[in-house]
């Protein structure tokens, strides 16, 4: 979240992706950095013990939302 907001502050539209378990800290961090309401995109937790196919499916599930966040105003 911190890196993403640094990039946004440089004028680059950006979005972080995290697992749903990190919803609360991501929002608190965004708020502390002056961007209350700026949210991450969340995929199903966990990741580290998943097969490559399962991880790719996580990407499939959120790619539209990622594109929407980078392109919608």
């Amino acid at each position: 979240m911190h890196d993403t907001i640094n990039l946004e502050n440089l004028g680059i539209p950006a979005v972080p992706v995290a697992t749903a378990e990190f919803t609360s800290p991501a929002r608190i961090q965004a708020s502390a950095l002056g961007r209350a309401g700026f949210d991450a995109i969340y995929v199903q937790h966990p990741i580290q013990d998943q097969t490559p196919q399962q991880i790719a499916a996580r990407a499939d599930a959120v790619v539209e939302e990622i594109v929407r966040r980078l392109t919608a105003s």
Binding site: N9, G11, E21, S24, P25, I28
Partner: protein, 515 residues
């Protein structure tokens, strides 16, 4: 030696005198860190000239905020930058009396700055314990950036200020219970002492510093820890005013980039910063180092550890119900402060092994798991005691994970006595633990994909007790020894680490000033 024949003259550069040309950008954090150090160079040893790659307004602000005491010129149109062609800023060029390039220093480099100072006949200008990292890379030089990117400059300019506004005064309504209010707003789940204006003022006075002085910026919110706000948390934790002497270097140590408190606070791991106290300050402020050293035994240990945690919560924003995501947490997050029992330690004390003098009081920080106990009451030999401890060391982080973890061996007085009696030195004890902590290779199976097995190809195979094992630790230095506790009971402990090294947390030791 490269002869510098430059078409564009550096403004203010006097011929016949050694010079430092310091190229910088106003919004580069590394420049903001590095440039003030050059103030300390003796004026007659060298002429220092700052060359700003930014406009006049930004440069003026930079000089004012950071109190730059040497001449700063604007590099208009980046003409001088193009000639000298620094790849990143800050870059410092040392020119001799004839304008010949003597040396170049890139980025922030503590040792490099001190070597530069020494070459110019100065005392060191970058002290080892001021909280700055040993090294920090700079930003790309403005003349190498594409033209269009200067637009965003305005918004990215941020200065680290040295003083902040006074803390807000909160006057409670008559019917409000100050203990209830403070526990709810600023507590650690237990009641705190209300930080009244009078109590905080006494604490600030003991520090000898101005209330608004910024001591550190505490992650994850990078809240400004002013002397006054640190004092308020110290009052809440039950500290005596004299404790400010320990709390300020402790906070600087915590915010040392090597320690990486940001990572320690945010991880889902057990890690909590373990505070370790050495030297005469133990007697001066009453730090306890005997039985129950990890417990609720002494005001000094408990209140210092608690004040530190309250600062992390209240100023840093790392609340355990919010951004601190530790899966199980750590009882040490209430307070985690021990002192070494130097009197029962036949070897050199911990802070001496860490490079300080014995009579220097010191505070060390380690990103620690809770202690795991090791009982060994029957073995008569020192080596056997160490072997028993090595079995506990094998379980640090995760049994099959080698190389990454570190550990502190907390030796109780009875154990260290036995080991020392057998003629084993501190260095030999550490070496023995290093060589005898191994995980049997038969406990690894690739198919199970268990943590630690994936990296087994990088592990070193050794023989321990006649069995092929992977060596647990990467070097003897990954194991530290700290002697503390009561003189009855053959119970030592092993304290495991969080992620270590440059990508995790490195142990830091800071001197505590004399009273």
């Amino acid at each position: 030696m490269q002869q510098l024949e430059k078409a564009t003259a550096v403004p203010g550069l006097q011929p016949g005198k050694k010079a430092l040309l310091v190229f910088f950008e106003t919004d580069c954090p590394t420049c903001q860190l590095a440039l003030p150090y050059l103030n300390a160079l003796k004026k007659d040893s060298v002429q220092v000239i700052g060359l700003s790659q930014d406009d006049e307004a930004a440069t003026r602000e930079f000089v004012k905020q950071l109190r730059i005491a040497y001449p700063v010129e604007l590099d208009r149109g980046l003409k001088i930058s193009r000639e000298y062609n620094p790849q990143s800023v800050p870059t410092i060029y040392l020119l001799d009396e004839n304008g010949q390039l003597q040396s170049t220093l890139v980025g922030f480099d503590r040792q490099g700055l001190n070597e530069l100072a020494a070459a110019l006949g100065n005392a060191p200008i970058a002290p080892a314990d001021d909280g700055a990292p040993a090294w920090k890379p700079g930003c790309s030089s403005r003349h190498l950036e594409p033209e269009t990117q200067n637009d965003a400059k305005e918004s990215s300019m941020k200065f680290l200020r040295r003083t902040a506004e006074p803390a807000t005064r909160i006057t409670l309504r008559d019917e409000e219970d100050p203990f209830e209010y403070c526990q709810k707003q600023f507590g650690d789940a237990l009641p705190v002492v209300p930080p009244t204006v009078e109590k905080v003022a006494a604490m600030v006075k003991a520090s000898g510093l101005a209330a608004e002085t910024v001591i550190a910026r505490v992650p994850p919110f990078y809240g400004e820890a002013t002397v006054e706000k640190i004092a308020a948390n110290a009052v809440m934790a039950g500290c005596v005013p004299e404790m400010m002497r320990v709390l300020l270097p402790l906070l600087r140590a915590a915010c040392d980039e090597r320690f990486n408190i940001h990572g320690v606070q945010a991880t889902t791991h057990f890690a909590a910063p373990l505070v370790m106290i050495n030297g005469p300050v133990r007697q001066e402020l009453g730090f306890w180092s005997k039985q129950n050293v990890f417990s609720n035994v002494a005001r000094a240990n408990s209140s210092l550890g608690r004040a530190f945690q309250l600062i992390l919560l209240n100023i840093g924003g790392g609340r355990p119900d919010g951004i601190d995501m530790s899966a199980l947490g750590n009882p040490g997050k209430f307070s985690f402060c021990i002192a070494e029992n130097e009197e029962e330690n036949p070897w050199e004390p911990f802070h001496v092994t860490r490079g300080l003098k014995r009579e220097q009081s010191a505070v060390s920080l380690f990103a620690a798991e809770p202690p795991r106990g090791v009982s060994e009451h029957t073995a008569p030999a020192g080596k056997t005691v160490l072997e028993t401890i090595s079995f506990a060391l094998a379980t640090v982080w995760s049994y099959r994970t080698c190389l990454m973890p570190e550990a502190i061996v907390i030796l109780c007085p009875e154990h260290v006595k036995t080991i020392h009696r057998d003629g084993i030195t501190k260095e030999q004890a550490r070496q023995f633990l290093f060589e005898n902590t191994g995980i049997p290779v038969r406990h690894y199976s690739k198919e199970e994909r268990a943590e630690g097995t994936q990296l087994a190809a990088n592990y070193k195979e050794i023989t321990v007790r006649g069995e092929p094992c992977y060596q647990k630790f990467r070097s003897p230095e990954a194991i530290s020894i700290f002697v503390t506790g009561g003189t009855a009971g053959k119970f030592s402990a092993v304290v495991g680490s969080w992620s270590t090294g440059a990508t995790g947390s490195q142990m830091v030791t800071y001197p505590i000033p004399e009273k």
